[in-house]
């Protein structure tokens, strides 16, 4: 390792780093703006200037930029020399020429990297007395506020947005001191990852709109380590609370899960926590169907009476914690507990688990995904189902560029040089999907196929890789197979991705086959399978692969086996058609529902119990890579809201159940679960238990500058209540304690002396950009790569498009396809109405244009032109028509989870006809406004 000299002191540093990284890793404070650990160096801002000396005799030295200077053995630098300090001061002063003095009204104030750096270089007095440049701000959508005057033109925003995240609608405009970062015209930023601009911008140009309108300074926020519940990715988050509201969600660094970035669903999707539909008190349904609020003792007694006779079934939830699900399973008995998937989804999630357990392939984390040098995606639209993976894939295609850079001996942090070198050369990324996906722009090729054909394609690739090609594919598809085989077989670290998103077990199985075939050739292949919800995989692990489904419970209830149903945090009306769920709930005499939000299921309950959200309770969630992660309450729940595990534990204590006699704390449940379920034995390692103390004290949720605690409730009462005591975790609702050197799972906020912004993170990392000093949060439960192989798989028959008949295929949307994102006010504005996507040729034959209505009916009509089904009303939905020429022939895409699609099921055969009397939302475009596309008709 090279030894460098900095200000007379010798340090051993890691080879291949630049001086700025080396200094920060050594704990030396060197100011910077444009450099970012995830984005490398371009040397634009000139802020990290240091003096480099040729040798010991050189007394003058020369100024170099730290971020552009590789560390070499024997190099001599000075950070504190007058020349370097003066230069850095001058840079900040020049950046300040046009920077407004608006810190007191700026949302970034108190966590502003520019403030920190200005103080760090010692620039105090402004000499400039001229006019400052001012800009007009743009409307960038409901999530992000734009305040261009504050810009210091470090270019981090466009480098992140364009180069890193692949966005195309934010650019650097104009030149000289008129440079403006914005869109071509006002409008919503289109990237699914735009929210990271808030953390990437070193000052207050991009700020959180909901925070700006409901503001609290960083130092006044109470926060705790949390896990995003938006999808199954398990991104680590830091929600910040004040006055009982989640004010904002920031990224919590986890080197193996989300690195520095979140998606917008995760960042802006926590608004449901204080939605007005949150339940406050237990509600008992009275005779006229309304609910009477009762106190929690009455509620528990009612639960006890309902559950005591023992004829109880339980439906768990893939979005509730392992512990709550485990308690419900204990309450009702293993054979009476359904994991809470829809009947279509249950086999898919169980297959995902089986494939990951059986596969010889590695289940990758985010860093290994980024290292993949050839990628195949089968069926899954990752940007909309597990967005953070899509962002990682955008980095993986750059491995070609890094290869080229290595040949020229360019360091990987030479961002500008490497991008220039590679231009549009990328590592292979192949996508087979039902239609276009947002990753298409970095894909080598995207093929539109019906789900069964995707499975056949995967199967043929697997056979090809294994050296036993089967030649039953159509010619154009066979060519694709050859190309993809060559790409995957020639790779060092090939990655295969799929997921439950396209609704087909055959597609999942095919992905398993491809990954396994690669392993059979001795290549360390990776297999990554997406599941829909925060704890979907946890439910599969908890229940094994033979748990009853909803239909089975309904039949058993109808046969008199059950009286009572307990539903845990699950809106069942999202899991089946209204008729099916009505029938299910109707089969029970009483239905007890624990949930946070008033939804159709809670409205059907006999007794509804208000459950605390993820931000108000402890819980363990198991991500799609099988990582158990712990989330902690950020604040205490209001009113009679209790965490679900508290309700269930109290109920079972009330019932004097033997199983819970020795369970007193949340950790006891985790341990009992680990002891009972072998597959979950590892969950106790996810985080330290509540006895943990950091150097003898708790870890504070509040910063040392937390203010106004005595005044916060002064409008209610001048008596300050006692601070709540957290019996369930090592964190304190207090500013007292030690937020340093703790295990990675217990990081409630980042701050270090002189570093008030999120850039202080590097003080918590073992080395800058590396994992946390306290270790990476979470525990992997799946033993990667030890399976015996998934066994044989017979590909389905080729999909045949039939006249007048379409196969429904899911089209996922990042905002709205999940249950919770549409409840956040900002995201709600971006949620579109439900739609049906068909190709232009089909649209022409159906006589619809974009924006017209389409009636979806089940069964088959004799011919599309007749468009009428006989007999009973088979209508499933009436939705807006969207024309998408990338749709696979014979398929119709439907917007999963959006309004109006409740009765539509993936892969169902349907008929379509034009809806009469449909009210268009937008004016009709005449036919010649659109070119007829290449999409083939079959009607």
């Amino acid at each position: 390792m090279p030894v460098i000299q900095v200000d007379g002191q010798e340090y051993e540093v890691e080879a291949g780093k630049n001086l700025l990284e080396a200094c920060l890793s050594l704990g030396l404070d060197l100011p910077y703006f444009c450099w970012h650990p995830a984005m490398g160096s371009i040397g634009a801002c000139r802020q990290c200037a240091v003096v480099q000396y040729l040798n010991a005799e050189d007394e003058r030295g020369r100024i170099v930029m730290g971020c552009m200077t590789p560390v070499t053995d024997g190099a001599i630098f000075s950070l504190s020399g007058d020349k370097a300090r003066g230069f850095r001061q001058a840079i900040v002063e020049s950046l300040m020429l046009n920077h407004p003095h608006d810190c007191p009204v700026c949302a970034e104030g108190g966590e502003c990297h520019l403030q920190d750096m200005t103080v760090m270089v010692g620039h105090r007095d402004r000499h400039y007395r001229g006019r400052k440049n001012t800009h007009r701000n743009q409307y960038l959508g409901p999530l992000i506020n734009h305040e261009m005057n504050r810009c210091i033109t470090c270019y981090r925003c466009t480098r992140y947005y364009r180069d890193y995240a692949g966005g195309t609608d934010l650019a650097a405009l104009a030149s000289r001191d008129h440079v403006y970062f914005g869109r071509h015209s006002d409008g919503v930023l289109q990237s699914e990852f735009a929210g990271n601009l808030l953390e990437v911008c070193p000052t207050g140009v991009f700020t959180d709109k909901s925070l700006v309108h409901n503001y609290t300074r960083k130092w006044d926020l109470q926060s705790a380590p949390s896990v995003c519940v938006g999808c199954a990715m398990g991104c680590n988050t830091l929600p910040g609370e004040r006055y009982g509201k989640i004010k904002r969600v920031h990224n919590r660094f986890n080197a193996e899960v989300n690195g520095y970035f979140l998606c917008d669903r995760g960042r802006f999707g926590a608004g449901f926590v204080h939605d007005e539909r949150r339940l406050q008190y237990p509600g008992l349904r009275n005779n006229d169907g309304r609910y009477d609020a009762i106190n929690h003792h009455e509620a528990l007694q009612y639960m006890d009476r309902a559950c005591a006779p023992g004829k109880v079934a339980g439906i768990g939830s893939p979005r509730a914690s392992v512990e709550a699900n485990f308690l419900l399973r204990t309450l009702v008995g293993e054979e009476n507990f359904a994991p809470g998937f829809s009947d279509a989804e249950q086999p898919l999630v169980e297959l995902v688990l089986r494939l990951q357990q059986d596969s010889r392939a590695l289940v990758p984390d985010i860093t290994t995904i980024e290292s993949a040098d050839a990628v195949l995606i089968l069926g899954e639209d990752l940007t909309n189902t597990a967005p953070r993976i899509a962002l990682a894939l955008r980095q993986s295609v750059r491995n070609k560029a890094y290869e080229m850079a290595a040949e020229l001996r360019l360091e990987t942090w030479q961002d500008g040089a490497i991008r220039n070198l590679a231009q549009d050369q990328r590592s292979p990324l192949y996508i087979a999907a039902v239609a276009d996906t947002p990753l298409d722009d970095v894909a080598t090729n995207r093929i539109s196929l019906a789900p069964d054909d995707i499975a056949r394609l995967g199967n043929a690739i697997a056979a090809n890789i294994a050296g036993q090609p089967n030649a039953d594919l159509e010619q154009p598809l066979q060519e694709q197979v050859e190309m993809i085989t060559t790409a995957l077989a020639g790779a060092q670290r090939p990655l295969v991705l799929s997921g439950t998103g396209c609704g087909s077990t055959a597609v999942l199985a095919a992905a398993g086959q491809v990954a396994d075939a690669l392993c059979g050739n001795g290549v360390p292949a990776m297999l990554c399978l997406a599941v829909p919800e925060a704890n979907s995989l946890g439910q599969a692990l908890l229940t094994g692969c033979d748990a009853p489904g909803l239909a089975q419970l309904q039949q058993r209830a109808a046969s008199g086996e059950f009286d009572t149903l307990v539903v845990l945090e699950n809106d069942l009306y999202r899991r089946g058609s209204s008729a099916q769920i009505d029938q299910l709930l109707g089969a029970f005499q009483q239905v007890l529902v624990l949930d946070g939000l008033d939804n159709q299921t809670t409205s059907s309950a006999t007794l509804a119990l208000p459950a605390a959200s993820f931000a108000e309770s402890n819980g363990t969630l198991i991500s799609l890579e099988g990582r158990a992660q712990h989330h902690y309450p950020v604040f205490q729940p209001h009113a009679e809201r209790r965490p679900s595990w508290t309700w269930l534990l109290a109920c079972m204590k009330e019932m004097q159940r033997e199983e819970v006699r020795s369970l007193h704390h949340f950790d006891d449940i985790t341990r009992a679960c680990a002891a009972t379920i072998p597959a979950l034995a590892g969950i106790t390692a996810a985080a330290p238990d509540h006895h943990f103390r950091n150097a003898g004290v708790r870890i504070p949720r509040q910063t040392h500058r937390y203010s106004g605690r005595t005044a916060m409730r002064a409008d209610i009462s001048v008596h300050e209540p006692r601070q709540p005591v957290d019996e369930e975790s090592p964190l304190a609702f207090s500013m007292e304690g030690l937020n340093r050197d703790q295990p990675g799972a217990l990081l409630p906020y980042v701050w270090a002396p002189g570093w008030n912004s999120n850039q202080s993170l590097h003080k918590f990392q073992a080395e800058v950009g590396g994992p946390l000093k306290g270790g990476t949060a979470g525990a992997r439960l799946l033993q990667s790569g030890i399976g015996a192989g998934p066994g044989t798989f017979t590909a389905p028959a080729p999909f045949k498009a039939e006249p007048g008949r379409w196969q429904l295929v899911p089209r996922q949307r990042i905002f709205g396809s999940d249950e919770l994102s549409a409840l956040s006010p900002g995201l709600a504005e971006l949620v579109q109405p439900g739609f049906i996507e068909i190709c232009a040729a089909d649209a022409q034959l159906l006589g619809v244009t974009e924006g017209d209505g389409l009636v979806v009916t089940k069964g088959i009509t004799k011919g599309a032109t007749e468009g009428v089904t006989t007999g009973v009303d088979n209508t499933l939905a009436t939705l807006e028509a969207r024309i998408n020429d990338s749709m696979a022939v014979g398929c119709a895409g439907f917007s999963v989870g959006l309004a109006g699609v409740q009765n539509l099921r993936p892969l169902a055969p349907v008929s379509l006809r034009r809806a009469e009397g449909w009210q268009r939302r937008s004016p009709e475009l005449i036919g010649s406004d659109r070119d007829a596309g290449p999409g083939g008709t079959h009607v």
Binding site: H135, H178, H184, G187, S922
Partner: protein
């Protein structure tokens, strides 16, 4: 810079964007323009590499590049409007607002400044009745400053349309613009 971006309401912008995306954007550009742009595209490895030439071609036909034109060019070059906007606004001789029939480029760089370009500018402004950045009411001239015209040995210099005027004097300005009504605004 931002003053170059016409402010439209969000709803309008969204609607116009949607419309632009849907309707055949190529119809905005003339056949001659498209032919010329395609010729440039044939010389470069990426379509977007013809961006500057495409902007110049459209400007040569229309005098300036409107938002609609810009979106149409971006569409034709398979790049985003924001990317092309970044290029268009980087160059001060790509006009994103309407200009007069002739653009007066008055050099204010160091040589011309030593030789008294400030007085020349006052004279031009007085003759035409417009300040820097303004267009005469009869739409004949737009007066703009420029950093260098590459003729420092003949300073002060100015361009009127395509003609370079060297060693410009106040008298010369008087002669050039003397017949213009002036005092417009």
């Amino acid at each position: 810079m931002s003053d170059l971006i016409p402010i439209v309401s969000v709803a309008e912008a969204a609607l116009s964007e949607e419309k632009a995306a849907l309707s055949g954007l190529n119809a905005v550009l003339s056949e001659a323009e498209l032919t010329a742009i395609d010729r440039e595209i044939s010389h470069v490895p990426y379509r977007s590499a013809a961006a500057i030439d495409a902007l110049k071609i459209v400007q040569s036909h229309r005098g300036w590049v409107s938002d609609e034109n810009l979106r149409a060019i971006a569409h034709h070059l398979e790049m985003s409007a924001a990317e092309l906007e970044g290029i268009a606004t980087f160059y001060n001789l790509i006009f994103r607002r309407p200009v007069g029939n002739k653009v007066i480029l008055l050099c204010n760089s160091i040589s011309c400044w030593i030789k008294g370009c400030d007085n020349l500018q006052k004279k031009v402004s007085e003759q035409l009745g417009v300040d820097l950045g303004q267009t005469t009411p009869d739409n004949r001239y737009t007066l703009l400053p420029v950093t260098c015209l590459g003729a420092c040995d003949k300073a002060p210099v100015m361009m009127v349309g395509d003609d370079l005027h060297e060693d410009v004097t106040e008298q010369a300005v008087q002669t050039l613009f003397g017949d213009h009504g002036g005092g417009g605004e």
